[in-house]
Symmetry: C2
Subunit: 505 residues, 2 copies
C-alpha cells in the first residue's frame, strides 16, 4: 500500500501539459506551481482502508495497469483470473471473512460478456482523513489539535476505450477531493457563515461583512449567502476538474488513453453528496419510495449544450459536422426539400429547406443507447478522453465533453432511516436492463429475507442486483427470466445502508 500512496503523491506533483484557462485553486499541486512536499499529515492519518488498485502488489506497474480489480475484493491470482473470465462471468464481492467495507456497504461486480478484454469498471471505497492546510487565521496549524475531518467515500468508474482512466480515477479522485477540502477544514466546523474573503496576510481575519461596499448598483448593495454545503459541492466539482487535468498532463507517460464515467458519494458532516459525470446512476430507496440522486449525461440529455457549443464555436465542428439535429440522415438527393430539424434553442421540431451544409454529419444523432456525439461517443461527461478523435479524422472530441459532475445533496439527519433504507449506485450495466422500480423491488425482496442486523445483507443485495442484470446463459446469450437479453456490459453495484451511519461519523 505504501507504494500506492507514493505513486499517488508522485502523480499529484508530476508535471507536463498546458493548464487550461480557468482559475486555479490556491496551493493545489499542478504543473505550473512548485511541487509541494508530500502531505505532512499522511503518517498521522488513520490507516486508509483498502482502496482500489493493484490486487497483486508484486506485479509490475504495466501488468497491474492492464488488469486490476478493487483491492477490497482481496482477490488471489486465481480469483483474479476467474474475475476476468467472460465465459463464466462469476459475480465478485468482498469475502465474508475479511474486514467489512465501511457502513457494511455491499458491493458486487461482474465482467462483460466479451465486449472488452478486461472489466473496465473500477470501484473505490475509502475513509479519508483531511487535515487543514493551515489555519484560516493564517497561523500555522498545530498538528496536535486534531481538528481534521473525516469523510466517507464511494466511487464507481465506468471506463471506455480501455481501463486506464477508470483505474487512475479510482486511485486518485478522492485524493483530489481531500486536497480541495483542506482549505475548508476549519470553515466547515465553524457554525458561522463562511468568510467570503480570506486574507493573504497571516493573522488577518477573513471578511464576511459588506459595510464598506461602494457603488451605486442596487445589485451590489447586498451579498449572497454562501452555505457550508455549497463549499463542499464546489470542492467536489473542482476535484473532478483537477483529476481531469491531471489525466491530461500524464496521459503520455501513463498511457491514459480512454476515459471513464465517474459516480462518487461523499458523506461529510451529516450530509451525503452524490456527484455524477456520465451515465452511471444512483437512487435512494427509502421505505419503498424511490429518490433519484443523479441523472445521466448523454448526447440526448445534453443535446442543447452540445449544439450551443458547436453553434458558438463552429471551428470545433471542423467543417465535418453541423450543429443542427435531424430525425434521420439527410440524403444528398433531398437537397432543396424540406426536412424536420431542431437547433440549440428548440425543444420542438420544424421544417427547413435542406442546404448543402445540412448534408454534413450532425453533431448529435441517434436515440437511447444508440445516441452518439460526433458519431463516436455515447456519454458527454466524464474524465479523460483527451486523445479521443472522430473516427477517420483528426477532429478532437474532448472540447465537447465536460468533466464537471452534477452534485445532489441528501441530508441524512432529516429523516430517521431504518436498516432497509439504502443508496444504490450502479454503472450502466445495471440500469440498461433494470428499472428504478425493479431495483426497489429487489431491495425489498432481499432485505426482508435477511435479519436486519446481518451485516452481509447489503452484499447479498448487491449480488442479487448484479445477477438480475446479468441473467444466466441460455439460447446463445445471457438471458433474464423473461427471456430478454441480460446486460453484456460490465456491471458494478454499491449498496450503501443509510440506517447506521451515525455510529461511523
Amino acid at each position: 500500500m505504501l507504494n500506492r500512496v507514493r505513486s499517488a503523491v508522485a502523480h499529484l506533483v508530476s508535471s507536463g501539459g498546458a493548464p487550461p484557462p480557468r482559475p486555479k485553486s490556491p496551493d493545489l499541486p499542478n504543473s505550473t506551481s512548485a511541487p509541494p512536499a508530500a502531505p505532512p499529515q499522511a503518517p498521522r492519518s488513520p490507516p486508509a482502508r483498502a482502496g482500489s488498485g493493484s490486487a497483486a502488489p508484486a506485479r509490475t506497474v504495466e501488468a497491474r495497469a492492464s488488469f486490476c480489480r478493487p483491492t477490497f475484493l482481496q482477490l488471489s491470482p486465481g480469483g483474479l483470473r476467474r474475475a476476468d473470465d467472460h465465459a463464466g462471468r462469476a459475480v465478485q464481492s468482498p469475502p465474508d471473512t475479511g474486514r467489512r467495507l465501511p457502513w457494511s456497504t455491499g458491493y458486487a461486480e461482474v465482467i462483460n460478456s466479451g465486449k472488452s478484454r478486461h472489466n473496465e469498471d473500477q470501484a473505490c471505497c475509502e475513509v479519508v482523513y483531511v487535515e487543514g492546510r493551515r489555519s484560516v487565521s493564517g497561523a500555522p496549524r498545530e498538528p496536535s489539535r486534531g481538528q481534521g475531518l473525516c469523510f466517507y467515500y464511494w466511487g464507481l468508474f465506468d471506463g471506455h476505450a480501455g481501463g486506464r482512466a477508470a483505474e487512475m480515477a479510482s486511485r486518485l479522485l478522492h485524493r483530489h477531493i481531500r486536497e480541495q477540502l483542506k482549505d475548508l477544514v476549519e470553515i466547515l466546523q465553524d457554525p458561522s457563515p463562511p468568510p467570503l474573503c480570506l486574507p493573504s496576510t497571516p493573522g488577518a481575519p477573513g471578511s464576511s461583512d459588506s459595510s464598506h461596499l461602494v457603488g451605486p448598483q442596487s445589485c451590489w448593495s447586498s451579498q449572497k449567502e454562501v452555505t457550508h454545503e455549497s463549499l463542499v459541492v464546489g470542492a467536489i466539482e473542482n476535484a473532478f476538474q483537477f483529476m481531469d487535468e491531471q489525466m491530461a498532463r500524464e496521459r503520455r507517460g501513463h498511457q491514459v488513453e480512454g476515459g471513464c464515467c465517474a459516480l462518487v458519494v461523499v458523506y461529510l458532516l451529516g450530509k451525503v453528496y452524490v456527484a455524477n459525470a456520465g451515465d452511471s446512476r444512483a437512487i435512494i430507496v427509502r421505505n419503498g419510495e424511490i429518490i433519484p440522486m443523479s441523472r445521466e449525461f448523454t448526447p440526448e440529455t445534453e443535446r442543447q449544450r452540445l449544439q450551443m457549443l458547436g453553434f458558438l464555436k463552429p471551428e470545433l465542428l471542423g467543417g465535418e459536422f453541423t450543429h443542427l439535429e435531424f430525425p434521420r440522415r439527410v440524403q444528398p438527393k433531398e437537397l432543396g426539400q424540406r426536412m424536420l430539424y431542431r437547433d440549440q434553442n428548440m425543444t420542438g421540431w420544424a421544417y427547413k429547406k435542406i442546404e448543402l451544409e445540412d448534408l454534413r454529419f450532425p453533431l448529435v444523432c441517434g436515440e437511447g443507447k444508440k445516441a452518439r456525439m460526433m458519431a463516436t461517443i455515447g456519454v458527454t461527461r466524464g474524465l479523460g478522453d483527451h486523445n479521443l478523435r472522430v473516427c477517420s479524422s483528426t477532429l478532437p472530441i474532448k472540447p465537447f465533453l465536460s468533466s464537471f459532475p452534477e452534485v445532489r445533496v441528501y441530508d441524512l439527519t432529516q429523516y430517521e432511516h431504518c436498516p432497509d433504507d439504502v443508496l444504490v449506485l450502479g454503472t450502466d450495466g445495471l440500469w440498461d436492463v433494470t428499472s428504478d422500480c425493479e431495483v426497489a423491488a429487489t431491495v425489498d425482496r432481499v432485505l426482508s429475507a435477511c435479519e436486519p442486523n446481518d451485516p452481509s445483507r447489503y452484499t447479498a443485495l448487491a449480488q442479487a442486483l448484479v445477477l438480475g442484470a446479468r441473467g444466466t446463459p441460455r439460447d446463445r446469450g445471457w438471458r433474464l427470466p423473461n427471456n430478454k437479453l441480460g446486460s453484456g456490459d460490465d456491471i458494478s453495484v454499491f449498496v450503501i445502508p443509510l440506517g447506521g451511519p451515525g455510529s461511523y461519523s
Copy 2:
C-alpha cells in the same frame, strides 16, 4: 379593426435590417424574401375577437403607441384616463355587459404606482383561424374544403424601458404563430406520424420511411419519432424568434426601443401549450393541486447559460465584465486575497486568489428581484431590447438575451376538469407578492362563493387576485392586509377555466 389588420400585414411584409444566421422557415415573410400577398383566407376567417391594440381608433398612430390598453377592455376615453391614473389604481376588467372573452376567460389589470408613466403590460385574447398554406402533397388547396384549424390564444406581455415592444408583441405574436402553423394544417389533422421530409416537387409524397438509409453508423440506422405535439412546440418557438426579428427590423421606424416578457397560451387540438420567455408565471390549480406551467428566466436562473456565453465569447464582455460570479463586489484592496467565486460549470462555491481582471464588474450579480445581468437588466428572455446597452457604455446586452420560450404542454383530455379548475397567468406584479399557494387559496375562496355556471366568476377571480397583490393605500403606500407593501408594479392576470373548453374546440 380593419386598419389594425392592414397594419399588421404591413408589419409582416415590411423590410429592413439584416436577417440573423439561422434557418428560415419557408415562405415566412421576412426582409429577404418577396412579400407575400395579404393572406387570402382572411375574409373567410371567423371574425377575430377584439385583441389588444388601439382603444381609440381615431387617434393617431403615435398617440396610440404612447398609451393603449387591450381593446377587449372596451375603454371609453374617460375610462382610458382612469386606467392611466397612478393615484387611484382602479382595477380594469372587460365590461360585464359586452361580449365575453372565449371560454369565459377572466381578466383584470391595474397600473403601477408610479414607476412608469403608463401601464407597460399588454394583453391579448384571440381565436385564430389558420388555413393551410398549401397541400402537403403539393397540390394547391381548394378553399372550399374547410380543412383549416382554429387555435385559442391568450398572451401577457410585460414591457420594460417603454411599452412599445409589449404593444407590438400583443398585436402580432399570434400572427407569427399562425404563420408557422400554416405549413402544419394538414399534418396536424392526419393521425399518421408527421413526414420527416416534405417534397419540393408538387405532387411527390412526403417521406417518413428509412428503408433507403445508408451509412455504417449505428446511430444512423434508426430515425427519431417526431410527434404532432413537438411540431406545435417548434412552431411556437420559431414564432417567438420571428417576432423578435421583426422588432429588430422595424425598431427604427416604429420606435420599438424597449423589450418585453411574453407569456402565451395556445389551445390547439385538445392540448394547452404554455410558452414563457421572461419572468411572468403560469400555474394550473386543479382540484386544489398546484401544477407549475412555467419557470422564470432571470440572471439567477440562467446564470450558467450567461456565464458560458461570456466564457466562450469574451469579446461580448468588452473588457468591462468578468464571467465569474462573486458573492459581493470585489474591492481593489482585496487584490491577492482569496474570495469565493463560481464559474459557468459550478453550482457550488470555492475560493480563488483575486487577480486584476476579477475587479471587473461581474456579468451576473445580486439576488432575487435585485439580480441583474451586466448591472442592467433583471430578465434574460423576452422580445425586443435590440438597442439596449450597458449603462454609460456602448456594450450591447442583446447577445445575452434569448427570445426563445420554454414551452410546457398540458393535455386537457387526460383529466375530467370541473368548473373550479383554472389556468392562472400573471405578470410579475402578481407573483412578486403572491405565492402559488395564496393564489390557489384565492381560487378556492372566490370560485366557491360563485355559482358554478356564472360566467363572470373568472373575472371576479382575476379581480380578486389583482386586488390582493395591489393592496390598499395606507401608511404612505399600497399595503396588503398583513401591512406588508403590495406590488407597485403593473399587474395583469388571466384566469382561463379548464372545465369547458370542449365546447369551443
